[in-house]
Subunit: 363 residues, 3 copies
């Protein structure tokens, strides 16, 4: 069960190559629908200067999910696909909320295919994808994070982002992806809608566009992304502009990863958030992984509140599909920041720490 | 992939023959559970005299859904089946609400098998079906609508009906369907319950019964349906009586369809709604379809508010399972009616219009 | 379809042997995910001195559910598994609520894998199971009830228990099960968390532990369980201690079952609930079953309110997977108790009765 292909698969899962979605969809062989998912649960502890918490929680290594997807070969290189993926929590059986209009008031509970809900048409020219999906500006936070923005080790640029409701995903999206055979170049453009009536005061709230282009070939990958999501200007919100960059180099003995992030909220006054990420994944015994990352995110709000996080992890792969893992993270705060982890609570400018011990199955 | 059987299947899907439900269930071969569904998403625009809206929305051609069904052959011609079908929205990943008691206060959110949730026992004598399903009075609105009551082209008798919480589906239903081998005759009777304690003021609210009989043979099909759902009489509600009729004739070059609808709400005073539908489906190139419909629905409330709609559509079938489609609709209002489409808003007695551009996969 | 193995399977389903969960999981052959479930719907009537109710409801014989589960063989006797099981209601398509923190305020609606949501690691030493699952203190109420705590016949010790939010299931649980090959001995220990921040007034609310040990060999089975769930002491709640015992003996012509239950809530003042159960299952015609039970549950609150229930049922098995059933139950009240069944309402100290007529499919 523990095979050489494992390490490759595991690295790909957190690497830039995952932006090439066609490969992910191909296992849908014959059957018109594939049921898939991840069940990941961890014992987590978080400690801060004010309070600590012990909990069982879901998705310490990969977000738990249940999905249904399929591809139909239409002949001549053309294909159509659908993807319905719902987040869920193993610890209590709840399922994830989604956001219907890309605005703060748009949350909808109940089982929702909140992680992805798309229909695609694919051909030599690339992929047209309609529905709810990751935004382009998100991918550089995930793809160069050794912890894939999951669990206590999630990089601070993801945890702290002021990128608003569309920082990770958007609903009502029309997206185009370049085809996979461009010699390593990949890219996507997206337009998403807040679906407000026009004319109205906030008619553009939740409308936005994003794009990402990159190059991944052999051990090296790099990508840059930019996005704007529109919101009527007020003291607390306004248009949100995001620019970020991610890169990785796989030296076999170690894969190094880095990212730079900037989010600007055009409220009155404007606030700009800036983040950095440096990470490494070290393959061990051919199957397992040591993960390390340092990340920071801070804004230019009064005091320049900033949080910096170290994270260390080990993943023991029983097989391609089953893994146990342990992660430790410590966050330090300055400028009035009071970030803790895993449900702990800490005072401003104090540090906090926590750990995960988990078990994950993919199906 | 594009085969002659396609046109037949597509026509059946919106024809009266679809009332013969046994045929739909038969593909459950061997496996005890079949996962099925439709993923349909459209870019829609609606424009009225007050406001317009652009949106991505779900189900412009067929309602998006995810379902689980199965049939067990019990020997001797007998079979048992179950059907769990949940509505969902591709544009934002949300899932559909259901109604637990057939009353206006009975809405329940979260993923619900709101479209159908039934257990069946079938034999030579027909089918006993228990649970939540379409009401008999609904089928004549769907079966003779070229647009199958989906998207911007949905006929106005469906959009405007004053038939109340059970106009389309009912929960807590005991239904009986005639067997399929009666020389073209088909029929069903249903009894559904509001499940209020007795005695109580509104003990019969949401209780009701419905029936439909028809004949479908060769190119011709006709059906008549009637229903009563009970509600305590007040200024705004009361028992709701529905009678309607649908018929279609397939002339090969064109399939013509027509319907008549009447809903009476026995409030104080009574209100009666009346609707008409004329439609046509023209097969094109052997695979595709041109769809046209005119429909109206109005009531005898003060001013006789009435809305009339024209709809034109084209369906391009990539295969039996995948289609692209475009629909344009225009609604005109009189007597104080202010109906718009696709989220547009219009003044009373003004017209409104809109369109869909969509992509659909069935699995 | 009606085979000798049927009776065995049906008896196991309500017998103590069901505590041996490994056997339940084994059918996951090859495929990485198994879709399974039960669709059970009944026409139910309940009558009391104040009000009666007729309804269609779900799960008269077995709780309706939809699940996804799988096991991966890791080699060397080791395996990993996941189990996601959601409750649902056939009568109206709704899905079940769960409880996220084992406290009265923890209810979460929408489709939730409320029945079970776990990840397991299994080896010669037994099974480690993490997530949401039945509590050990629940199993003696289910396993010796001829009606498996479903429908109008559900034993009164289950219906009336004052065991609080974790009486049946708990979230955030770490559990260990003994392996199945211990000569008939079985057992489990569980620790579950309320996940409150520490320090806080109610930091231990919803934390708890439970254990169960038993012996099942040939016709005889017995098990004892104990549990404590912590809650800050008040007039209405406090730590809840549960002890119970279940036993069964299968004499072939009849299987006899019995249980004793005690729940103590350490509120101010303390309240203790005590219950009894005697039941029998008689196989008929090799396939069908007659079920009888008498049960009671009462507390030492002022007046010693107590309810006693007789239940009689017949299960007609069309096959291993499909059954029709009828159940009648009558409850009598004393000491101020006013328990009714199936939605009926009765006065204190008056009796109430009701019945189910249902159809069940397992898939």
């Amino acid at each position: 069960m523990r095979r050489a292909t494992l390490a490759l698969g595991a690295l790909c899962a957190s690497g830039l190559a995952s932006a090439q979605t066609s490969a992910v969809q191909s296992p849908a062989t014959g059957s018109s629908v594939t049921v898939f998912g991840i069940a990941d649960v961890a014992l987590g502890y978080g400690s801060g200067s004010i309070a600590s918490k012990t909990q069982l929680y879901s998705g310490g290594n990969s977000a738990s999910r249940l999905g249904f997807r399929g591809i139909e070969d239409l002949g001549g290189g053309m294909a159509a696909g659908f993807w319905l993926e719902a987040g869920l929590n193993i610890d209590d059986g709840t399922t994830g909320a989604t956001n219907v209009n890309n605005q703060p008031n748009g949350s909808a509970n109940g089982l929702a295919f909140n992680r992805r809900s798309t229909v695609s048409l694919m051909d030599f020219w690339g992929e047209l994808r309609l529905g709810r999906d990751f935004t382009a500006q998100y991918r550089n936070r995930n793809d160069v994070d050794p912890f894939s923005v999951n669990g206590v080790g999630t990089n601070q640029a993801q945890v702290g982002t002021i990128g608003g409701p569309t920082a990770t995903r958007a609903s009502n999206m029309v997206a185009y992806f370049l085809p996979p055979n461009l010699g390593g170049f990949f890219g996507e453009v997206q337009y998403y809608m807040g679906e407000n009536p026009k004319p109205s005061f906030n008619e553009d709230d939740g409308n936005g566009y994003s794009a990402r282009v990159g190059y991944a070939n052999g051990p090296f990958a790099i990508a840059v992304a930019g996005a704007r999501t529109q919101f009527a200007r007020s003291g607390s919100t306004g248009d949100i502009d995001t620019v970020n960059l991610g890169a990785s180099w796989d030296f076999q003995l170690v894969k190094l990863m880095g990212g730079y992030y900037r989010d600007k909220v055009k409220s009155l006054p404007e606030v700009t958030g800036t983040g950095y990420l440096v990470g490494a994944i070290v393959p061990v015994f051919g199957y397992d992984q040591i993960k390390v990352s340092w990340s920071s995110y801070g804004t230019d709000a009064p005091g320049d509140p900033t949080a910096r996080k170290w994270a260390f992890g080990y993943v023991y792969n029983f097989s391609r599909r089953t893994a146990a893992y342990a992660t430790y993270a410590r966050v330090s705060n300055s400028g009035g920041s009071a970030v803790a982890v895993n449900g702990g609570i800490t005072d401003a400018n104090r540090s906090a720490s926590g750990y995960d011990l988990g078990l994950k199955l993919s199906f």
